[in-house]
């Protein structure tokens, strides 16, 4: 499922769907496709919608991953259940459903495929979370699910077992989804169908103990990047140039044709996309720099995301560290988030970027300005 818009990840999702946000130099969705392919599945249907051209152009017919990829279009984002319905013409018999924005290990897909089941049973992977209230909290009896509560909040969790978002279904699920009512938000959620199936005692759980990460908030981009560099390794592309005196830590991934200037320092957990230019004496740590961006001489970028083809002027400092951030009316306290500079943003020299800043795409920032909070796309920021 890769049709969603991901509004909580604005401005990064203004120009790409959430599953196409790159971490460790590949889109999140590519990790999902790889995990599915590694589990031995070679027929993949991507349910696409918002900005689907980005996904289609990237994955094509799936040949580069050794799988057949086809596309089901969800024209309007009417919920995860609705998304699954769009795939109906493409599937026949048993199939597995996953989220396109959650990176999991191939093992969980195999577990779901191999789970013992009777015809009409659904299989749901469950896992333990320290913050169960943010997810679908599942109550189980043996391998049967007995209840699922969607995002009950920090105090309403009946258990620490949550829905991992990997399901095994067969064709009968489509009827179950159709029988559900549209929720108060106008969406048809896959979890409503699960609710129905649970009440009929036909949902089996498999316990997944592996790693998983997903992109919910902007600051997750930085932490998920660190996770994938840790799991999948990092390296410097052959066509990249590292000038003398530059120091590049092990956990740094550098894309093709990138250039790292003299005496620059790349601390751990940094990803530089293709064609990125890092100037002399620049310092980056715990940061994701999308393809084509330029980090000028002497700039400092910490705990941050720099969008595609964005420019960070000389001696500009993204301070990094913890911030309190309000997204869509929800207050998030003390998240590690230096900020995000949107795609094609042009930030002048000597700009100070306070923790938690969200600079919109295509914004222009005058030299010497100080940035804080959320700034709309295409804004021109002058020094106050």
């Amino acid at each position: 499922m890769a049709a969603g818009e991901g509004r909580r990840l604005e401005p990064l999702t203004n120009r790409r769907p959430k599953p196409m946000i790159p971490v460790g130099n590949q889109p999140v969705l590519e990790y999902v496709v790889e995990a599915v392919a590694d589990a031995g599945i070679d027929d993949i249907v991507l349910v696409v919608g918002y900005k689907r051209d980005r996904i289609q152009t990237y994955f094509g017919d799936g040949n580069d991953w050794g799988v057949d990829v086809s596309y089901a279009v969800q024209e309007k984002q009417l919920g995860t259940g609705h998304a699954v319905l769009q795939a109906e013409p493409h599937v026949d018999g048993a199939f597995v459903v996953l989220n396109g924005d959650r990176i999991i290990e191939p093992g969980v897909v195999e577990q779901v495929i191999d789970a013992p089941r009777e015809a009409g049973d659904a299989v749901m992977a469950v896992t333990r979370s320290k913050r169960p209230g943010d997810y679908g909290v599942v109550t189980t009896d043996g391998d049967r699910a007995t209840d699922i509560a969607e995002k009950p909040g920090p105090h309403g969790s009946a258990s620490e077992i949550i829905n991992a978002g990997v399901y095994g279904f067969d064709d009968s699920v489509f009827a179950a989804i159709r029988a559900c009512d549209v929720g108060p938000d106008g969406e048809l959620a896959i979890t409503s169908a699960l609710d129905r199936l649970i009440s009929r005692a036909t949902v089996r759980c498999v316990r997944y103990r592996g790693q998983w990460v997903d992109l919910t908030h902007l600051w997750d981009v930085v932490s998920v990047n660190a996770s994938v560099l840790d799991w999948f390794g990092a390296g410097i592309a052959e066509t990249a140039t590292v000038e003398s005196g530059a120091v590049v830590a092990d956990a740094v991934d550098v894309g093709g044709d990138a250039r790292i200037g003299a005496n620059a320092a790349l601390r751990p957990n940094v990803t530089l996309g293709d064609n990125v230019v890092v100037g002399s004496n620049a310092v980056l740590s715990n940061a994701v720099v999308f393809p084509g961006a330029v980090i000028d001489d002497g700039a400092v970028v910490r705990d941050a995301v720099v969008g595609e083809d964005a420019r960070v002027g000389p001696n500009t400092t993204v301070v990094g560290g913890d911030a309190d951030v309000v997204v869509d009316g929800t207050y998030h306290e003390g998240v590690t988030f230096g900020g995000v500079l949107g795609d094609y943003a042009d930030v002048g020299g000597g700009v100070l970027v306070e923790p938690g800043t969200r600079l919109g795409d295509d914004a222009i920032v005058e030299s010497g300005a100080t940035l804080t909070g959320a700034i709309s796309p295409e804004t021109e920021v002058r020094r106050g």
Binding site: D53, Q56, T57, G60, D61, Y71, G256, V277, Y344, D362
Partner: protein
């Protein structure tokens, strides 16, 4: 222009050949046919695309040849479709190219029964005369010697578990597979089965048997090296887009990153295309002659300005079919640059050969590794755009201009015409082209809306100046190719010298109002058409133009490459107009992807 394929091996031949023909349809699709060769020969052919053929459910034949045709001689009819046979239906021939002397040969074969108007049909009848049921290769060799013109042919005959293929001036490649031997006009036809290929040379005759391919030239055995194709032919599938053309428009950022990859050093102002042009040749070079056809010609016009302005060398751009080496030139100090996506464009190859015969060095700028242009030119640079299937060229235009932009910097530096700072600046802009095109693609909805507003117009005019002029011509060419609407491109300044008479309220004008396109001067032309009531769509980086435009499509700041980015809007506009009009976008009527006949 046709596509041919042959297979002989251990598997059933029908699906192999039918599938291969699908992948060759970009070469032409007005009729198709297959000959299955088992104990007897069965021919299936008709007008239309491969899917229109009435084929048997299955066939045990393990040897077959197939053809997808593009009419040159004779109308597309069932009888004119290939394969063609001899009088007894024992010999089947598929052919790509033209046999110039077929009329005199046909006169000699007066006692043979001909069933079509094609030049090809003389070939099976000549083979019938030469063949006694024994060595088919020898018979084909003797017939090929009598043919004038350009051709690639595949021959099979009843009772022979083999295919004989011959090549002169039309492309032909053989594939060495585990389940048999393949031959085709182009690699994608059989890449699902094998990636090990050999390119045949002019005069080669190849005999394919299930486990071997033997090649002779002039009767002597020759060895053609086996190469492994690493590119990805399946990228040639549509990947969720409704049309190849739209897919290819959207692939431009990715394709151009490939074009640029590893070839520029913006810090030091250097571009390197691995050309090995000696400095003592480049420095005193007096003229570059660019020869090309269609969209490639427009890329050549763009390059002319770049080369003249930044490499300080005189450049002429010639439509390939009009090219002659004319007076006042020193061939030793002339470089002929042939720009051809396929590397097989007959007109362009012809022009390149003329230049070469006159003593000029030749440089091929092409997308196709191993193509005739690449093999015949003294130097070759690949544009690395990946396979392009849509008949209307889109990403290859952008990749050609970007490649020629790199060439400009390389030559400009070597000729000491371009300062390091200026070279850095140009290269930085080239590097930013993919990102700027992505931003343009992100605004597709606005273009679609404009197309909806104007799709029913009487005609469309495109205007531009300087670098915007070739883009205006290219925008008009795209629109006419795929929408069949009347479209013309003009230099802005020319409007008042005639074309303005065509402008009415029902003829939208699309203007390239960007840097590199003299936007202030062009704005005056916009005002001229506006006062005649024509609606104006502007691809613009000139903020002051807004108030004169009915639709404004914003172009990112990119100096002389802004018109190249604006062109992407024009591609999308053509696509959406054609879609609204229900046209066959990937296969416009009367057109083929690469034109291998004169």
């Amino acid at each position: 222009m046709c596509g041919i394929i042959g297979y002989v091996g251990t598997e059933r031949a029908l699906p192999v050949v039918a599938d291969g023909l699908h992948r060759l349809e970009y070469r032409g699709y007005d009729s198709a046919g297959i000959a299955l060769c088992a104990d007897s020969l069965s021919i299936y052919k008709s007008t239309g695309v491969v899917d229109d053929l009435t084929l048997p459910e299955s066939s045990a034949a393990t040897c077959a040849v197939g053809h997808t045709r593009w009419s040159t001689h004779g109308k597309p009819t069932d009888a004119n479709a290939h394969p063609h046979t001899d009088c007894h239906g024992e010999i089947a021939v598929v052919h790509n190219g033209i046999i110039d002397n077929y009329e005199s040969l046909k006169a000699e074969l007066a006692d043979h029964a001909f069933t079509s108007e094609t030049d090809t049909e003389v070939v099976p009848h000549l083979i019938e005369e030469a063949w006694n049921g024994g060595d088919l290769t020898a018979a084909v060799e003797s017939v090929v010697d009598r043919l004038d013109g350009s051709f690639a042919i595949c021959v099979t005959a009843e009772g022979c578990d083999e295919i004989v293929a011959a090549r002169r001036d039309s492309p032909l490649v053989v594939g060495h597979g585990e389940t048999g031997s393949f031959v085709a006009s182009d690699v994608p036809a059989f890449i699902e089965h094998t990636r090990r290929v050999s390119y045949l040379e002019n005069g080669d005759v190849a005999t394919l048997t299930p486990d071997d391919v033997a090649v002779t030239n002039g009767g002597d055995p020759v060895d053609r090296p086996v190469e492994t194709v690493t590119w990805d032919a399946e990228a040639a599938e549509k990947g969720g887009y409704d049309h190849y053309m739209l897919k290819e428009i959207h692939e431009q950022p990715q394709a151009l990153r490939q074009t640029l990859s590893g070839r520029l050093d913006a810090v030091n102002g250097e571009a390197d295309l691995d050309l090995d042009l000696p400095e003592e040749y480049v420095r005193p070079l007096e003229e570059i002659q660019i020869v090309a056809a269609g969209t490639s010609y427009h890329a050549g016009m763009y390059a002319r300005r770049l080369l003249e302005e930044y490499a300080d060398v005189r450049v002429s751009v010639e439509i390939a079919s009009e090219y002659e080496v004319t007076g006042g030139r020193d061939p030793e100090r002339t470089l002929a640059v042939a720009v051809t996506q396929s590397g097989e464009t007959a007109d362009t190859l012809d022009a390149m050969r003329k230049a070469s015969r006159a003593g000029a060095r030749t440089l091929a700028v092409t997308n196709t590794v191993g193509s005739t242009a690449a093999r015949e030119a003294n130097h070759t640079v690949y544009i690395r755009a990946g396979p392009e299937i849509g008949v209307a060229a889109t990403k290859t235009f952008a990749a050609q201009v970007v490649t020629l932009g790199l060439l400009t910097v390389e030559l400009g530096r070597e000729r000491r015409a371009l300062s390091t700072a200026m070279a850095s600046d140009l290269l930085e802009r080239l590097r930013d082209v993919p990102g700027a095109i992505q931003q343009t693609l992100d605004r597709e909805a606005a273009v679609r809306e404009a197309a909806e507003t104007y799709a029913d117009a009487d005609a469309f005019f495109f205007i531009g100046r300087r670098f915007g002029y070739p883009v205006a011509l290219e925008g008009a060419l795209k629109l006419k190719e795929i929408s069949y609407e009347h479209a013309e491109g003009f230099a802005g300044g020319e409007l008042k010298h005639g074309p303005l008479a065509l402008v009415t309220e029902e003829t939208p004008v699309l203007a390239v109002l960007t840097r590199g396109g003299e936007p202030s001067d062009l704005l005056n032309n916009v005002k001229e058409v506006e006062s005649r009531g024509a609606p104006v769509v502007g691809c613009s980086s000139l903020p002051s133009a807004s108030k004169y435009l009915d639709v404004e499509l914003e172009v990112e700041a990119l100096g002389v490459f802004e018109p190249l980015v604006a062109n992407v809007y024009l591609q999308l506009f053509a696509y959406h107009v054609a879609r609204l009009r229900g046209r066959s976008i990937d296969r416009p009527r009367n057109l083929a992807k690469s034109v291998t006949v004169k």
